[in-house]
């Protein structure tokens, strides 16, 4: 019953925990998937979780300029877009030369 009452409101802690779960899922996907595109999907999820916590802090925590958190999220989205563009281009290029996008088999720089 107390857990239900705890969940019947939204505070900073709740958002942070949601963000943490999302980040953990992203981390798991990024670490444990073979496909390069899937790894990138995990990274995007992690970035989303971080953005969520930024927004939560901007909403709840005392600050003279609360909307700076939003500006930061905009920049994170920008960087994520650039990163996704280059990373997926790399995946495509790697597939061309190695005929695979399994990150375990891409071992150009191993020795």
């Amino acid at each position: 019953m107390s857990i239900v009452l705890l969940a019947a409101r939204v505070d900073l802690e709740h958002v942070l925990i949601v963000g943490a779960v999302l980040f953990a899922i992203g981390l798991y996907v990024a670490l444990s998937k073979r496909n390069a595109v899937a790894v990138l999907m995990g990274i995007e999820l992690m970035l989303n979780a971080v953005n969520l916590t930024f927004i939560a802090f901007a909403r709840f925590v005392e600050s003279p300029r609360p909307l700076d958190g939003h500006v930061f999220v905009i920049f994170v989205i920008t960087v994520a877009a650039a990163e996704a563009a280059v990373a997926l281009a790399l995946a495509v290029a790697v597939y061309r030369h190695r005929e695979t996008i399994d990150v375990g088999k891409i071992s150009l720089l191993r020795w």
């Binding site: 905009i74 989205i77 877009a81 650039a82 996704a84 563009a85 997926l88 281009a89």
Partner: protein, 123 residues
């Protein structure tokens, strides 16, 4: 602000009901045998103008699609960043105008590069 989004959320729920209704009606018609349902292997085969299907449809695609998507993503983000600038411009003064104009100029440089390198051609 939340109130406004909440009303849009109301509409969202109804928007889901709107197309589901005819689908449900169609299913109900099927249940009451008012609608034929006799699938056979020929009917449910993939339609390719009468020729028998060869290979899988979801094969490999040309890289030109990817180049377009690449340029699109970058420009989309840049234009998105210009929207807050557009709203804040009346109070921004000369410095704000120059900042936005510089931003647009860099965007134009990227665009000119794409054009010159023939990345915009559908080859």
């Amino acid at each position: 602000m939340l109130e406004e989004f909440g009303r849009a959320g109301f509409l969202l729920m109804f928007a889901l009901a709107f197309p589901i209704l005819p689908i449900v009606a169609s299913v109900v018609f099927g249940v009451f045998k008012m609608r034929p349902r006799r699938p056979d292997p020929i009917k449910t085969a993939t339609y390719e103008c009468g020729v028998e299907t060869e290979g899988d449809a979801l094969g490999q695609f040309n890289v030109r699609y990817y180049v377009y998507a690449l340029i699109f993503v970058v420009f989309d983000v840049e234009i998105l960043l210009l929207y807050p600038w557009a709203v804040a411009l009346p109070t921004a003064g000369l410095a704000g105008f120059v900042a936005g104009a510089l931003f647009l100029a860099i965007l134009v440089v990227g665009f000119a590069y794409d054009w010159a390198k023939k990345a915009l051609e559908w080859v």
